[in-house]
Symmetry: T
């Protein structure tokens, strides 16, 4: 939809236990590791004008720290907060420090899981949400970000 694209910095944040992706039960969760996703995101980013940085932590405070450190350095945020999606008002508050677009992604469809996962503390402050497409949620999310950033007056 956009012809001219400039290079944007986008931070991708992975929440707790996502570092274990692909390391256990490959027959169920596939062999894709978090490193593979990160590599793919960076590669995809290059083709759509986005410089991707990634960050994973099991620690709420480390994620808050990463969000604070990147204030005014980034043009967009892609976040899979995992379990923190449903419990961390502190991460919500740190996201609120940012004025750039925020895209919320989930590997699994959170609406098929336990009822305490149906409520996201991020959804209403995000531009958009993707849920249920496996690792593809990240790639589609990055594409969505590119389109938002390249839309003249978004």
């Amino acid at each position: 939809m956009n012809n001219e694209k400039k290079m944007h910095n986008v931070l991708v944040i992975h929440g707790p236990s996502l570092n274990m992706l692909g390391l256990r039960e490959p027959n169920i969760y596939g062999n894709t590791r978090l490193d593979d996703i990160n590599t793919e995101l960076k590669k995809l980013g290059k083709t759509i004008g986005i410089c991707v940085e990634t960050f994973q932590s099991n620690s709420e405070s480390a994620i808050i720290g990463a969000l604070q450190k990147n204030l005014e350095k980034i043009s967009g945020l892609l976040i899979n907060a995992a379990a923190f999606t449903h419990t961390s008002i502190a991460i919500r508050d740190a996201l609120l420090l940012h004025t750039v677009p925020i895209i919320e992604v989930h590997l699994s469809n959170i609406y098929k899981r336990e009822s305490f996962r149906h409520k996201s503390l991020i959804a209403d402050i995000a531009t958009g949400q993707l849920s249920g497409f496996g690792v593809n949620s990240y790639y589609l999310g990055l594409r969505a970000m590119a389109d938002i950033l390249n839309t003249p007056d978004s």
Copy 2:
């Protein structure tokens, strides 16, 4: 992510009042009409191995009819049920007749709107959900569908 792609039939369903897109308040909703979206979806479909059919109706029963008529003729369903997302168990039931992947899309972020729009009767039977990316929700949804259909044993 997939090299070899075969041609798939995907039905895109648009719910009530989506026929009015782009016809009112262009300064707010943009100039994109539903026809433009359909044209774009078909064009994008061709490039990723999907033959797109589209259907819009303000009528719950017409949407149910379209879902019944396409049984065993399609490989995937992309649905923006609009207001029916939150009220129609009958559309849910008609979707349940299908065993192909279902992707739920929303133009706006439904979690930023009235609380009665936070509950989707489709979400837990869909493969995945996209919400809040404007017309891009459709295009990303179609890409997600292509990836699902082209994954060997999905």
Copy 3:
């Protein structure tokens, strides 16, 4: 239980997607089609003094129309409103126009399904409810209707 029976007109209403019965997954749902049920109901009706008319629609308004058109022409109503059982106050209101006995039937046990199917908007205005006996719910319901209609001062 009743010795003398006179002929009564009973309208049987089938709600959304019931037209698909027996057409898909016969190993699961059996081979009985809606036509078979209707034929069986008419045959059974003859043996118990009831003239059966049937009507199926995926459209809430068509069902309301059928209910209005039959005002004062029938002696009883047998209704499987399917998904509309839980969402349609309009059908409830159209049923309230009638003063004849109403019997609510369901193929599956609605109490074994999603919680949004546990509440029926028809139950408290029906004479009785049958749920969970498969196609037999219809036949037992028709027998119940015969007994009600043939009870002297019901």
Copy 4:
């Protein structure tokens, strides 16, 4: 309250089963038929500078259609959505396409009825609501509309 009045087009919408008014149980509901109400509304309209069009349907989609077709053709909407008041987000959405004043009317006092009729999906987007005055709810609603339309900067 207003001396100078110009002619305004106002669409009056009647929801499901209102076509049955006056046709059944005249001792309870009176002999006033919907046609009588429509005639009366048109007559009253003429005296207060309003050209009244009326529309009744048992079909949610037909009502949505009527709302869409009249976009930018009318100066005000009077709606008795009957049962759809409580269940139809789709009609709410079609009403939201309009920027003209909307007045919600009910024949009966909905707060004296079943608890599922206490919540209106239209009330918070209407200018005002009248409930419980029988057919007079329509006439008072039309008067209220005239006053709103004739108020200089409403």
Copy 5:
């Protein structure tokens, strides 16, 4: 709708802080003072066969007192209980002493305001309710009262 009208006494009750109408922020609430409304109500009353008495108080007990004092002296009650609408069972009880028609009016649309204003303790014992028409709510309410009182066997 009625040709012959006899003179009726109607008491109009205004709840807390309505004495401040028009005295503050005229650009927002208009210049209409409560006295203007009362004068207008009396004038309108004369033209439709109603002798209007008015009473305002910020005191729940004073309103109860006014209701008790007028027992068997009035033919109808028009009440804008303001904040007491939502909190005073005692006013509800005093209203229940009366058997004449009660009409509940609100200047603003209470369904657009805080959720604790959505529940009225008067609505289910009133004949009807008008909400959201500004000062016109009173005038329409009085007209509604006239029609009720002049209907032969209301």
Copy 6:
């Protein structure tokens, strides 16, 4: 519906106060006593291949005892647990010891009564439920049981 029928043992359980049926207020509840129902059930059973045993108690533990004693001796259970339907998890547990079909019956339509009778602790473990047909609920229930037992692979 079934041509070949073999003889099945079915236990019919009647809950608290059902022993009083027909003994009080015959003008309201009719003259049918529980003994009459039991006799009728046995007679009907013979014609449809079912040997009926009946059991009534006001005691939860006596009903549990009857359920335990009949383990592996019966082919089906027909139960009107009356008040215990809504309060006894212990009877639910005793029913769960059985693997034969369970049919829940109620004389009155429990959805027309107090809200604490709307929830059945048996409904989701029963094959089906009949409610509201008076004593006929039992006879229809027994017919339903016959059909289930005679269906080849139910």
Copy 7:
């Protein structure tokens, strides 16, 4: 309030664990045993024209049995159902077989205790309720019964 009194039979029912009154922790609960209460009730009964019979059981079914056995033999029921007050719909149903006045008594103030004791399944079918007066609840309740029974047309 009444001068002429005739002799009435009143059954007093004591629920579970009330047989332990006065047998444990006399410093807390006092020395009054259930026998003392029963003796006192009979003595008081004689002076106010009531012949008192008493019944205590820890068994729900025994209480139901007592209620059934006394049908049409008594003029009033005084019941302290203790824990069954909050859990037994079956006792409620057995009480509903009676048409005589029912008075509900509680030794302790049930509104000062756990929240699950705040709801009584008997309160809305009783003539009146006394709670919190210790053993005096029984005596006051019996006096209340006498007054009700001696009121000409109660």
Copy 8:
């Protein structure tokens, strides 16, 4: 139960609209006026060692005033707060200033009325509650008070 009784001052408080007792609809509410109740209470008081003072008001603040004025002057409080029972935390707070026994009385059985009357803000700070015995609720309440006051160490 007590042989020696000393004279106690007890204040009886009547809430809003109780001044209307007996003045309207005598065929329904009887002819007993509040004055009659007060006279009867004083007479009864004399026979059981209680000097009764009474107070009625439709005003919450007047009742609070009466409660404050009588601090340390009375030995017990009998209160029928009527509608204020369910809405006035301020009266609850004024009652909490007292350390003497409080007895809550209601003419009607509040559990048979609207659900917003089921919750009393006084019940958990009262010694006991009587509900449903008509005017006798007061007399029984006064007797209960006498017994409490005459119990050695209450």
Copy 9:
């Protein structure tokens, strides 16, 4: 925090039963009377540029009256509405007539008390709230007011 201070009029409102402070149970509530608090507030006011007026009432309407009478005469409001905090929408409405800063104070920590005291109808329209500091809540509140009033563009 502010160097230059001008004189401001601040009204301090005390709700029901606060006139009893220090008059009862001095060992529990201390000996500070409301007069002492008022004296202290005036003295403190002088040192921080605030002219303090105080008002106490047990009457909701008297408080509303005081609020109305002071419109446009004061620069700030300090209110301890006591029990009315949780029940009076009318006081909330009267507070909403003011555009000056409102500070809500409570002697006790309302979050340690009954759950019906956890919700304040004033909190969301106040600038700030102090709860739990005994009489000091007033003095701190007055200091807070001074700082708000002396902040250049608050």
Copy 10:
């Protein structure tokens, strides 16, 4: 943890349907019968200074009776109330007669089952709870009891 142990009497109570343990579906529930558990408990008791008595009943009143009969005869109670855990306030009340330690045990993990089993009416009056260890729940519970009884000042 304790060196010197004295002999204590402990009553073990088994609720409804636990008499069926090991008698049905041994491949699922194992072959352990209730008698085996009782024997094992007595044997284990001897080694840890506890004299074990056991009692099973399907009857709530029989369990209450057993609890009453053993008052002051036992030093501890081990109870698996099965379904009564969630429904019997009467058993809770009978447990409250005891002042000895109470330990609540469950074979299965009640938090993995239906939501109506998540609430225990015993848990908050027990010393401790064990859930989910199969028959071992009993043995661990008995060990826990021994430690509590042998702790000097528990």
Copy 11:
């Protein structure tokens, strides 16, 4: 209020993202940085006899650590737990280790924000709470602490 003051150690805890104060959007949040607040608190502390230590962290565990390390070293705690106020039972538990006064402060009025911020897990264990006074909440809180610490027997 106190003349003689001794020096007290008070720990001030700042929760997540409070380190960003004054660093972003100065036109909205002002230029006050956390360091400025800390300096001001220490300066104010000196004048009122309090030695202030401060601690900020985005990490729940770091805050718990600070609370544990200061056990028995401090005389009071001032805490603005920010987002953790609403989610951290662990910080509540660490606060419960302390027996010194705890004062809860919030910059913004939490009752004006999202509903999930209306519930504080600290409020009911704090001495008092201040909310909505901007940075002044801290200074007022410190003054409140001084008064509490200097009150003879607090």
Copy 12:
């Protein structure tokens, strides 16, 4: 119950503030320190074939880290997550990475405490739960673990 036992590695996790056990208020909590518990657990482990490792942290992420690091190295998990039991979905998720038995222990009976401690986010994924036995909860939990691990096909 098991004769042959092999050595198993079991990780014991202690949540926030459990490191303070025994360090404060020994008269209340006893003198047992966490080190004592750990020593005792290891000693007990040796006697029942379990090699115990222990880990305590106040940090959610450190606990997640410990859970991740021990994947496939342990045969069982004993966890007292303390406050995290009720708030951490992230720890739940990290536990779900494990397929070994999980036993949940609590020192205090969580059902006797604040209602927000009644819900455990671990209970439904644990094998079993022990609550309320003080430090003995750990030892009994370890014994339970031994029995599970030594059961042939658990």
